[in-house]
Structures are given as C-alpha cells and as structure tokens.
Amino acid sequence: MKNQNFYMRVISLLLVVLAVLFYNSSMKAQANEKEISALTDKVDTLQEQQNELLSALETSYANRMQNQAASTGTDSSNADSTDGDKAADTSDGKTSDANAEDTAAPDSDNVYKDGTYTGEADGYGGTIQVEVTLASDEITSINVVSAPGEDSAYLSQAESVIDSILSAQSTDVDTVSGATFSSTGILNAVDEALGKAENS
C-alpha cells in the first residue's frame, strides 16, 4: 500500500490524543463525583440542623402557648419583662459597635503600610518588575508591570505563581515547574516590594 507509514502514524497519533482526552474526561468525572458527595454531605448536615431548629422552635412555641394559657390574667408583668429584653438588646448592639471600631483603627500595629509598591528582580533574561497592592496587611493584588527579557509562553506560565502567593498570603510558595527562572524572578520581586512596604 502506498503511504502506509503515513497512515500508521496518523492512527497512532489519534490514539495518543484520544488517550489524553479519555484521561481528562475521567479525571473530570472523578472531580464531579467528589464535589457531588461533598455537596450531599453538606445538604444532609444542613437538613439535620434545620430539623433540630424546627423541633426546638416547636417545643418553645408549645411552651409559650402553655405559659400564655396559664397566665392570661397577669398581662402587665409580661410586658415589663419584654421591655427589659429590649434594653439588653440595645446595650449589646453598642458593645459590638465598639468592637468594630477597634478593628478598623489606624494601621499603626500592622506589619505593612497600605498602598501599592513596586519591586524588581532578575528573571530569565532580564529584570521583572511587579506591582504589589496591600490593604491592612493583606496582599490584594500583584501585577507584572514589565518583563522585557521573558519569553511570553514562559511568563504566562510563571504568572500562576501569583495566584499561589495571593492564596497563601506569603512568598514562601513553590515555583512553577517548567518556568523556574521567571517564577523565581516574580517571587523575588514581590519580596522586594514587600520589603519597601514594611512599617519601620
């Protein structure tokens, strides 16, 4: 047969692609199953809680009805006690307000000053410049401002290190395998920016 090598190779290439697709779909199905079981667990516990609440409400309602039936004559004393409850409520509200003010106090105790800071470090083929935004000791965003020496394919891979920094709120994370130089550069640049933001 003419070109039999070509056809053989087409078939084996298709087999490889199919194998990867099959692997992917089975992984996805597995992930879905896990998610479904986690969600059903959650629903079960919620339902349990709801049942408990309902039964608690029912018993308390039944109690109240009994009480009301027992004390239909003494209305005035009842009203007094509800007033007292209200007073307690308002005082509670006040204390919680005070608490909130405490946490929103100026950031003199924070490790980092709020604001946006830039940092630089060597990447693969040049300097990488990043912009780190901080708000009350939290790294809210990291942007790569310039990276002239990086290969674009490697850089976009390396940028996934930013997500790990944001979720870990630390630069003590693993570098991206396959884009070690670029991701190390980003990590070092973020470190430098954080150094600038430190309260002295």
Partner: protein, 258 residues
C-alpha cells in the same frame, strides 16, 4: 553545481540566524508542552491547556503539513549544531588540508538514530515518576538557553554543562549529531504523520546507476523516496535536492515544477 549547493546553504544559514536571534527558545518551549502533559498526569490532575502546549501544537501541526522545516531552519539548537559542525570542518580542512575527516558509518548513523526515542522515553518516565523535579541542572538545554539569554550558569548546572560540552564534541563529528541521535523533541517530530505531499520525492527512473549522491550528502543518510519508515528523520535541509546533478529530487512531486 557547487554554486547551487552554496546558495541553498547560505539562504538556510540566513534564516537560521534570524530565528536564532528572534526565537532562541522555541524548541525547549515546545518540549515543555509535552512535559507538562506528563507532569499533570503524574500529579493526578487533568491536562490543562497552557501556553507551552500552544507552541507545541503549532509546531506539530506545521510539521504534519510542511515537514520538519522547523528543525532545518528555525530551531536554535539545530542552528548551533550546524555552526559547530561547519566551524570544526573548516578548522579541520585548514589544519589537515585534504585529509578525510573521521565519519560514522551509515549503519552506525541509522542505529544511533534510535537513541533519541530512549532519551524521550526516559525524560517522560522521569516526569511520570516525579524524579524530574530533582533533575534541575542536568539539562544541557537549560545551560544553552541561559547562555543565549546572556547569563552564565552557576555551579548547580555542572552536570548540564558537562553534557553540553560532550554534545558539542559529538556535533563536530557528525552533521546534526544532536538532532538525529539525542533530541527528544526530534523524536516527537520524527513520529509525526507528515503528509506525503510534504516529503522529498525522487524520480528514480532518471537516476544514473550507482549514483547515491543524495544519500551521501543527507545528514541522516536517508534513501530519499517519499514515504518510508525513516522519512520522519528528514530535517528538511534541502541538501539532497541541491546536490542532485539531475535535479531529480523535489518536495511532494517527482516532476520538475519550474
């Protein structure tokens, strides 16, 4: 006849130089795409599309339709190999005049061409077993791409430096030594189904008996005859077409087009 060969070689060298300056890391990016598939499987995660895989896919699809012209004209490491080989040959002829350089026999070349599949299998196996993460500093490609980016590799890359020097020694002895015998990406390219219309075809009837000049000039010592078991080894250097005294070799057709 010599003039035509020189022209073809010079045009190729020009294109190679342009690609070397513009995109020196394409070959390792393409292979990083292949590795990323196996690293994802090793981590038990679904294979997700990434920027490496885009480069891999573009190069593989291009190869299927147009042959391995990437290897012959655009790969920075291949160009580096050509430069080392040509440079060494030039020095050799200056020093020893017409003395013939030591060359590998045809049989040996064909046997060594299988080694790259072992290299590919070993690298992918190391990705699957998680050994790959511990192998930093052993890749000669890392050392090469650091040098092309204008950085000197440090002592952590000692193993990679030694391997690169050994490869360079091999490059002196055989044209396209690395591409034919060791390149893992070359192994992937060689397995691609290249459309028969993109392969070099030979009009055997017009060939003078016992010529075989094309096979001798071919860096991979191939029998140029369209789709064969070895046609994936063709690096599309066009040396055969330029060498053939009867202009019997063309891409896609046995007839002369112009």
């Amino acid at each position: 006849m010599k003039k035509r060969q020189r022209e073809v070689r010079l045009i190729r060298a020009g294109i190679q130089l342009a690609f070397f300056i513009a995109a020196p890391s394409l070959f390792s990016t393409a292979f990083a795409g292949i590795k990323s598939i196996f690293l994802a499987i090793a981590a038990g995660q679904p294979v997700e599309w990434n920027s490496f895989l885009t480069v891999t896919a573009v190069l593989l699809i291009f190869t299927c339709f147009f042959g391995r012209h990437f290897c012959g004209y655009a790969c920075a490491f291949g160009s580096f190999g050509d430069a080392v080989y040509e440079g060494f040959s030039w020095i050799w002829t200056k020093c020893f005049h017409k003395k013939k350089k030591l060359a590998l026999s045809e049989k040996m070349v064909h046997r060594l061409q299988k080694v790259k599949y072992i290299v590919l299998a070993l690298i992918l196996l190391s990705c699957l077993t998680g050994v790959y993460g511990k192998l930093t500093g052993t890749s000669p490609w890392d050392v090469f791409s650091m040098i092309t980016a204008g950085r000197l590799p440090n002592s952590k890359y000692l193993v990679g430096i030694v391997i690169l020097v050994l490869i360079m020694a091999g490059m002196c002895t055989q044209e396209r030594f690395f591409c034919q015998f060791l390149c893992p990406m070359g192994a992937v390219f060689a397995l691609m189904p290249i459309l028969p219309g993109a392969l070099f075809q030979r009009n055997r009837e017009k060939c003078p008996p016992k010529c075989g000049l094309c096979k001798k000039r071919c860096p991979a010592h191939l029998d140029i005859d369209g789709d064969t078991a070895r046609s994936g080894e063709c690096l599309c250097c066009h040396a055969c077409a330029a060498t053939c005294p009867r202009k019997n070799i063309h891409i896609g057709t046995t007839e002369e087009n112009n």
